[in-house]
Symmetry: C2
Subunit: 370 residues, 2 copies
């Protein structure tokens, strides 16, 4: 009895996952983490108004969500000063990146990203059969020059840039990104991931230009808005590209609760501002803890900090493991030389106390062994 | 300035959607429907325990859901007497069908379904570049014989059968379905959609056999469990096929609220039983209303009824339009001769009063014009 006949692409895919979830680690260690600081979630939570809206929607959850997400898209359009036709809302940026790969990428199609940049993008490109070309970071920044150069060489259909960057927390100014957009090779679409745009300094995000067919910009409710567990993100682009998503997306995949939660979150900009302020304070507190332990915090425009542990990936990995053993969940960059760092998400005072408590013990142990 | 370079498959896809949402109709008519009886949702709602669980999860929604959906899969495994490795849980059956198409179907790959069966399956196959071969219903039943015959002729990689059937509400016995499984051609996988299995008579669903590599079975929390708006479904299959989903699925796409809601719903089997009983009563009430108006209700194992309007698709379409104008949202089969029917989901007493009130007026008008 033979099994299913998978496509050639699928047969050749490795059985990898972009990220191992903290719950998997917790099951393996037999205990919950004291501080969950690895997934760049917002420990400051969603707005109380959002929580109330979710609770109030519980009785209506027997109804499918509006497949057009009309109300949310109209509110987002007003918020950004664009038309609803320029917005696709859906199951988080991850889901939308998957749809984008489906739209553009077939077997062998060239795609350019940075070595060590967001792995879920790479995962979706591999799933579509695309060929990934990776360029190195420039210092701890993604390099628009290198990305553009490789895109020209390879005839890339798609280029990925996160601004601000994950996992490094670095960022480019709006001017630098706009200059990159203006130099894009004919036929290359820029997937500009602005998941961390809400926490970035003024002047980081270029103005929206919905007539520009060369770029699609991704935003999320998973980070500063504190709604990672509800799955809600959106993309802004020329209306033709947005319309193309309707050919392949799961029309009823963006549920009613998610739509209500996102809409309510958008309306509570005061909560967003308060959260961003708390994130800034937490970044400073984490930087202080790092410096007190002889480590170097990198500048960050995000809700996390990359902490340079001063040696190589093996050393940083040992620090990460040591923290996990002591109940502090963090992650680290995948590729050298960025993997000399660990990546710590902003936490509550209690989370940061756990970090402050664990880090010197872990470092003492790891330094003694190194 | 050129736009994005879509794949050949995407360029050739029509800009259709599987279903227009009721909200779109409501916006067009400028008023909400009085009775929402078109999407086979469960108007009887989710269990109160589920509503409470959703409300209690609202504060934890800043955390991504467990990408392994460990707790839900273990509970489902216990419920069905299989292993967690036989279960993939995710964003509704629609989402899982999309993943299955991604796994198996490439350009030109043959797939067999029934003419007029679930359009979202067809939509995903088209999105993957597959070639759909459609066989007619046998009476108002999907025909295992015809499906098997066409699968043999075409070398189909995938065959779709819904049991019970949507949109007709008809069903086959477990024995008939098992006989179909046993006769599947080498290399054909049966996608057995059992979304309406919870409302079917005993003896409709064949026993689960997780060693059988020829079939994957889909279940949902969107129908009898009343959770359409949360997006939660699952599939049961051989562990190798389940493992393959991990190569291409959106690992963090199945959110925390959805997982908690589904797990709580599963544990409240008393609510499910009570709902199934209410669905049965509503089916009888709808059948009575149909007969009182000279229409013929078809036997149903689902949470909806197909009502034979006695003429052709144009006539049934006019009845549907008339009901919509009077605030009653229903749908109808897409393909002849099943499109002689309208399809009415089970409703509350209040919903059915609206139907009872509207139907004779609509029929009087439509019959006068016909």
């Amino acid at each position: 009895m033979t099994g299913p006949r998978y496509t050639g692409i699928v047969r050749n895919l490795p059985a990898t996952v972009p990220f191992v979830g903290p719950e998997t680690h917790e099951r393996a260690r037999g205990a919950a983490f004291k501080a969950r600081l690895g997934a760049n979630e917002s420990v400051f939570g969603p707005s109380p108004r959002v929580q109330q809206a979710i609770a109030e929607t519980a009785g209506q959850v027997w109804m499918y969500g509006d497949p057009e997400a009309h109300d949310l898209r109209r509110a987002l359009a007003d918020h950004h000063g664009v038309a609803p036709e320029n917005i696709i809302a859906g199951e988080g940026i991850d889901g939308l990146l998957g749809y984008l790969a489906h739209l553009l990428i077939g077997p062998g199609d060239p795609v350019v990203t940075s070595s060590g940049a967001y792995p879920t993008f790479n995962y979706h490109i591999a799933g579509a059969g695309g060929v990934l070309h990776r360029v190195p970071y420039d210092g701890d920044h993604e390099s628009p020059t290198a990305l553009l150069g490789r895109a020209r060489e390879t005839g890339a259909k798609l280029i990925y840039l996160a601004n601000p960057d994950n996992p490094m927390g670095s960022w480019h100014t709006a001017g630098t990104v706009q200059a990159m957009i203006d130099q894009l090779p004919q036929g290359s679409l820029l997937a500009l991931d602005e998941a961390y745009g809400d926490t970035a300094p003024q002047g980081t995000l270029p103005p929206l230009d919905m007539e520009d067919r060369r770029v699609i910009r991704f935003r999320t409710f998973s980070k500063a808005y504190g709604l990672a567990g509800i799955r809600a993100g959106y993309a802004l682009a020329h209306a033709d590209l947005i319309q193309a998503f309707n050919k392949i997306r799961n029309h009823f995949g963006f549920g009613r609760v998610a739509q209500v939660a996102a809409l309510t979150a958008l309306k509570d900009q005061a909560w967003l501002a308060a959260t961003v302020s708390r994130i800034r304070q937490a970044r400073e507190a984490i930087a202080d803890i790092a410096r007190q332990n002889g480590l170097t915090p990198l500048p960050s425009a995000t809700n996390f900090l990359a902490i340079d542990c001063g040696r190589d990936g093996t050393f940083a990995g040992a620090v990460l493991e040591g923290l996990a053993t002591r109940g502090v969940f963090v992650r680290m960059p995948f590729a050298p030389p960025q993997d000399r760092c660990i990546r710590i998400s902003c936490g509550t005072d209690r989370d940061l106390s756990a970090l402050e408590n664990a880090l010197p013990r872990v470092l003492k142990h790891v330094r003694a062994q190194a």
